[in-house]
């Protein structure tokens, strides 16, 4: 669905996937937040499951990504504000927040900024600080398509993620690569790769945010994650008193282990 998000500079159109069901704010709402150079598509299976099992699902495209208008926002804090404005525009009250990678930082920050509105927090493939190497940032500036290839390679832990995502026959490395390249190419005025990765690298509010979070928190980590190493999530997990679920997957945990992620989400969001 499309909706106008009220921002200080005026309304901006945003898109959200609703899991194949009309959005119904009277149901429990779960909001899925994608990561850098991604879109709602990384969450479609989970969103469909929840939308068909008593929940309403919202998986927005963040500003400047795929179907949501405008330039990308440059900081985790700014995107968290946008996310809260988006939830408000959708008419949702209390929501569960689920975020992947950069989306996990956005969810964390949003959960801190509006603690009373967040019923559950799930951080998937997270780390804090989410440092990005100087070499990768330089590559993002000078050769973003080449840098995308590197990130794509390091996001996957296997050449045979089964049963694949969103269905059999998808070559996960190829689908992820072309998605990232298309989103990068679509932003003609901005280097989306650099913007997203700088937002991750520069975010310093995680420890403070953790102190403000009031809802039960779960971390879903990929044991073979080479982008956000599980060890780099440990301190944040302790600060959040989070339950941690480790899955046999890499950073692309939703596509490499979709059933395991769904199981973890069902447990995390159980009443």
């Amino acid at each position: 669905m499309k909706l106008d998000v009220a921002l200080p500079e005026g309304p901006r159109e945003a898109y959200a996937y609703t899991g194949g069901k009309p959005f119904d704010a009277s149901r429990p709402v779960v909001v899925f937040v994608h990561g850098a150079l991604h879109d709602h598509g990384v969450w479609t299976l989970a969103a469909r499951w929840f939308a068909n099992h008593g929940w309403s699902a919202l998986a927005p495209d963040l500003p400047g990504h795929a179907r949501s208008a405008g330039a990308p926002l440059e900081s985790v804090e700014a995107i968290a504000d946008w996310l809260l404005a988006f939830i408000d525009a959708a008419g949702a009250g209390r929501v569960a927040l689920v975020g992947h990678s950069m989306g996990s930082l956005i969810a964390l920050e949003a959960a801190a900024r509006a603690a009373e509105l967040i019923s559950h927090l799930v951080l998937v493939a997270t780390a804090y600080p989410m440092r990005v190497s100087a070499a990768l940032l330089e590559a993002a500036r000078s050769d973003p398509m080449g840098a995308i290839d590197s990130v794509n390679t390091f996001s996957h832990s296997s050449l045979a993620g089964k049963p694949s995502y969103p269905g059999p026959g998808t070559w996960l490395h190829g689908a992820n690569r072309v998605l990232m390249r298309r989103l990068q190419a679509a932003q003609t005025g901005t280097n989306l790769f650099l913007t997203d990765f700088l937002a991750c690298d520069r975010y310093r509010g995680g420890a403070t945010a953790a102190e403000k979070v009031r809802c039960p928190t779960t971390m879903v980590l990929g044991e073979r994650d080479q982008m956000t190493f599980p060890a780099e999530a440990r301190d944040l997990g302790e600060r959040l008193h989070a339950r941690t679920v480790a899955l046999g997957a890499g950073h692309a945990v939703m596509s490499e282990a979709p059933d395991d992620v769904l199981h973890a989400l069902r447990q995390a969001l159980a009443p």
Binding site: S157, G167, P168, R182
Partner: protein, 440 residues
């Protein structure tokens, strides 16, 4: 290996899509010869049907062995995914049927495999899908043939049988200028010789019967999507492709382009085309094609090496009027081939024999290593006379447009010792020469 470096082509040919079987430890890909897959519960069943989970339900739609093949070919092509089909023809039909219906129009190269020409010219026109054929190198012709109802541009990477090299970058740019996808038949080149997506093609397919399986044992096809074509933008600009960008009543009201920005085409192709037309591949066939692909890099190198030796021999022979191989400077697409096919132009080519039809017949029947049959891309060398076999339904004008003469002979060079192949050809050419000088 995975995750630490970007795997190369030869590695992907062996490993993409496959890992040791978690249930048994089997290292080779198991053949899952089963129609169906047990549900864990009613809820599990419902969620699989409703695309809330990924997994296998029924082997017409997907199968674990087929999925390995699909992922592997997609990996080798640099695509986002693939669908294995019952034949190359089924792959072509699936591609067209996914985005075209009655009233739709296709612009296609005139230099096509005869079966593809039949499908487009005769069969699909019965269902309201018409095709305009243009010479593959006539870019103005491609442009002029595009209509508001056009859904697809289509050609072969190397045209059959004259090996016209499709100028994929130019035709793709033209297609995209009109918000249309370019589909190519990549059978003759395989991803080892050319990866069409890197040149701008959007969709491709293989007759896996040929080089991918490589041993002349199975019939199969694979349809691959680059994931690169923006169906939503095309709909917004032209109103076309609503079958991918608007709710489809035939599958839970799903909007395929919302389900996946890069996978919309294959989602519809599988959930409608495979489901309803049912031209799916047997898992046993998928396994045999996978066996072939594991040695594809080795075989293609040898195919090309042998072909170069045979071409060099034929090009210097007095009984040969011309050899149509793009690596020769005499081929009209020589320069394009150097640019798009630096590893070689495959192992299927045609030549024209001087002399009578009787000499042509004598030549073919005198060959001993070359098998006279209707196939290409076998590990064994093959020969055929296109005008009387693969292209026999085409009239003289259509044959001429496809670059086929009455004396054209097509060879598919296999993996035998090249010297033995040349000896076989020498012997047959001598017999043909004698037939020409014999009293009638």
């Amino acid at each position: 290996m995975p995750g630490y470096a970007n795997p190369g082509f030869d590695t992907l040919a062996l490993h993409a899509g496959a890992a040791p079987d978690p249930a048994t430890g089997a290292r080779a890909v198991p053949i899952h010869l089963t129609t169906s897959f047990v549900f864990e519960s009613s809820e599990h069943a419902a969620s699989l049907f409703n695309m809330e989970r990924s997994g296998h339900v029924y082997s017409r739609l997907s199968n674990p062995t087929n999925a390995v093949l699909e992922e592997r070919v997609a990996a080798l092509e640099g695509g986002s995914g693939a669908i294995a089909t019952a034949s190359g023809q089924a792959a072509l039909h699936l591609a067209i049927a996914t985005i075209a219906g009655a009233g739709s129009h296709i612009v296609a190269s005139s230099a096509l495999y005869g079966g593809s020409h039949n499908l487009l010219h005769f069969t699909l026109s019965r269902f309201g899908i018409t095709t305009t054929f243009v010479a593959p190198g006539d870019i103005d012709g491609w442009r002029a043939a595009i209509r508001p109802e056009t859904r697809l541009l289509f050609g072969e990477t190397l045209g059959n049988p004259g090996l016209d090299v499709l100028d994929i970058p130019t035709v793709a740019a033209l297609a995209h200028e009109h918000h249309l996808p370019l589909l190519v038949d990549s059978t003759f080149t395989t991803p080892w010789l050319m990866r069409p997506f890197e040149h701008g093609a959007d969709l491709l397919y293989h007759s896996a019967t040929k080089f991918l399986s490589g041993h002349g044992t199975v019939i199969g096809g694979v349809l691959v999507d680059s994931g690169n074509f923006d169906w939503d933008a095309a709909t917004a600009a032209t109103g076309r492709f609503r079958e991918l960008t608007e709710a489809y009543e035939g599958f839970h009201g799903m909007v395929f382009s919302e389900e996946s920005t890069v996978g919309a085409f294959l989602l519809r192709a599988r959930r409608e085309g495979l489901r309803d037309f049912g031209a799916s591949m047997s898992p046993h066939t998928a396994w045999l094609v996978l066996q072939g692909i594991e040695t594809l890099p080795l075989r293609m190198a040898r195919h090309v090496e042998n072909t170069r030796k045979v071409v060099a021999f034929l090009a210097g022979h007095e009984l040969i009027a011309q050899v149509g191989y793009p690596e020769l400077e005499t081929h009209p697409d020589h320069a394009l081939a150097k640019r798009l096919l630096p590893r070689g132009c495959g192992s299927v080519f045609s030549f024209d024999l001087r002399g009578s039809r009787e000499q042509g017949r004598t030549f073919i029947e005198s060959l001993r290593l070359f098998s006279h049959l209707a196939n290409v891309g076998d590990c064994r060398s093959l020969v055929i006379h296109p005008a009387s076999t693969t292209h026999f339904r085409m009239d003289d004008a259509a044959l001429a447009r496809a670059g086929i003469g009455p004396g054209t002979i097509r060879l598919s060079i296999g993996l035998e010792d090249a010297d033995d192949l040349v000896d076989d050809l020498k012997r047959a050419l001598k017999a043909a020469a004698r037939a020409g000088s014999a009293p009638r």
